[in-house]
Amino acid sequence: MALRGLEMARYLPLIARFVAQNLKSRLAYPADFWTGLASDLVHQAANLVFILVVFQHAPSLHGWRREEVVFIYGYFLVPFAVFHATAANLWDFADRYVVRGEFDRVLTRPLPSLLQVFLETMELESLLGAVTGVAAMAWAGRALGLDWRLADLAIFPVLVAGGVAIYYGIFIALAAVAFWTDSRTGLIPLLWNLNAYGRYPVDIYSRRLRFVFTWVLPLAFVGFFPAAYFLRRGAWGWYAALTPAVGALVLAFGVAVWSAGVRRYRGAGS
């Protein structure tokens, strides 16, 4: 793992270069850029309004107050924004790379194939979702009178990184399924909305679903558990300590599925 980390550090200047170029090419189509931005904002506003409307009819949800649920959603928006902005290319990976054969070109370049796919298209305007999220957290945290500790400043990015890693792992694995099927759309457009399950208190779901979102598709580690930690909801908050480990595990799984898929694509057995 440490070796992997070092290897990635070698690519940092290259990644920075690609980030800049992606931003530039997004700005080459100002209309797309602004509509992307606006639609993200509308989406986030609609989700917030939905939460507020629900709480007009019930004072609390399984013991969760309105501000707490807004806080969880706000927190969730941060890892989701980072994921959405950087992994946009996984969305139509099946069609663009496998069906249309662009993956051949990827394999003729001296970079890891997964890194190339990430770098080639980004939707960096989606990062604005993180700003919305932080604003929602600030508002809710104030209303709840949350006590922030200095250590939280260091813990926050670690938990966010863990959450992003979980999304990466899940969606890399789903994208890699394209190496085995000849389907044009792939699984990701079907399953994209799974991400919504990470942003509500996990105890509103049935026991079975709770188990699934904790230990099978560990989406609760992306938004809910870390947010519960900052809300000082002891029982759930403790799970947050596992977020980095779960992130590393799920990401490793995704990369393993990817590698197996690439081996298959290149016709090396299986």
Binding site: P13, L14, R17, F18, Q21, K24, S25, A28, Y29, G101, E102, D104, R105, L107, T108, R109, P110, L111, P112, E120, D182, R263, R266, G267, A268, G269
Partner: protein
């Protein structure tokens, strides 16, 4: 030492075989039938540094599959392969630094940014030092007359302009071996001529080895002293271009005759440096199976057709 050395190189694919009719399609949902197709069938190919080789054959002959093995994209089913001193698929990232690849149907460049910026990204990807990069870009831009194109986004280039940029992009890291898969497809005559001139020039100036697949035999006549003719995964002819040209007969007709399994050239058919593969059109008898173990070579999983 040879720059490309392939012995008994073979690639098989498992192809899904669909049943006819609606009922058949329904049955396919549950039990799929596969058949093994041998796209490249135990070919031997040796290319020396500085050669320009035309690799031709009808659609489905196995040209692209060969190129994909030689460039490290596909892993061979069987056989021995060494390109630029590497086993292409095994050390992919190290190997691809030493080659340039142009797929005529596909772009190496980023659609929305200026050509120059695509080039800069490629420079970073290949880790080309600044001074070397500038020198190469100057040279390539000069010979290909890229001048004004460098600041245009790729999406605004015509096909011919784009192809000139593609060639430059493939050579920025100074590869000693260049693979061109139908580089002149869809181009007008003027651009074709310019590209041929360019390829001749880099071959002469830098000794760049070129392997070219094309359906345009005029490309071959203009560029390739040596041709390799492939059909149904097997090499039908490998030798000097001159040796198969008959008096008063166009290359087109000669090649068509070879595809159809007729005898090649006059006399022995093996002109200077030419080598005719025995039993033209006579099936597989002459070469036996593909299970010949190459000596000292790397044998991949036998992966037979059965």
């Amino acid at each position: 030492m040879a720059i490309i050395e392939a012995r008994q190189l073979t690639k098989e694919f498992r192809k899904f075989k669909s049943r006819p009719g609606l009922a058949g399609a329904f049955r396919d949902l549950f039990t799929r039938r596969y058949e093994t197709v041998r796209a490249v069938d135990a070919i031997d190919l040796t290319v020396e540094p500085g050669e320009v080789v035309g690799y031709i054959g009808p659609n489905g002959a196995g040209k692209s599959t060969t190129i994909k093995m030689l460039t490290g994209i596909l892993v061979p089913t069987a056989g021995h392969l060494l390109v630029n001193g590497c086993v292409p698929h095994r050390e992919r990232e190290r190997f691809v630094r030493t080659i340039g690849v142009v797929f005529g149907q596909r772009s190496q460049l980023w659609w929305d940014i200026a050509v120059r910026e695509s080039f800069r990204l490629l420079q970073r990807i290949y880790g080309v030092p600044d001074a070397e990069y500038r020198r190469r870009l100057d040279e390539l831009a000069g010979v290909l007359e890229l001048g004004d194109l460098l600041d245009v986004p790729v999406r605004k280039l015509s096909l011919g302009q784009r192809m000139r940029c593609e060639l430059a992009a493939a050579l920025l890291h100074g590869p000693s071996l260049l693979f061109l898969d139908e580089p002149t497809i869809g181009l007008d005559v003027v651009v074709k001529l310019r590209i041929r001139d360019f390829l001749r020039e880099i071959n002469a100036r830098h000794g760049t080895t070129i392997l070219l697949t094309t359906h345009d035999l005029a490309d071959i006549e203009a560029l390739c002293p040596r041709v390799v003719i492939l059909d149904r995964g097997r090499i039908l002819y490998d030798g000097a271009l001159d040796a198969i040209r008959r008096d008063g007969q166009g290359l087109e007709e000669v090649v068509r005759a070879i595809y159809q399994g007729e005898a090649v050239g006059g006399g022995a058919g093996a002109g200077p440096g030419g080598r005719r593969v025995p039993e033209l059109g006579g099936g597989r008898a002459a070469e036996g199976g593909s299970a010949v173990e190459p000596e000292g070579g790397r044998q991949y999983g036998a992966g037979g057709a059965g």
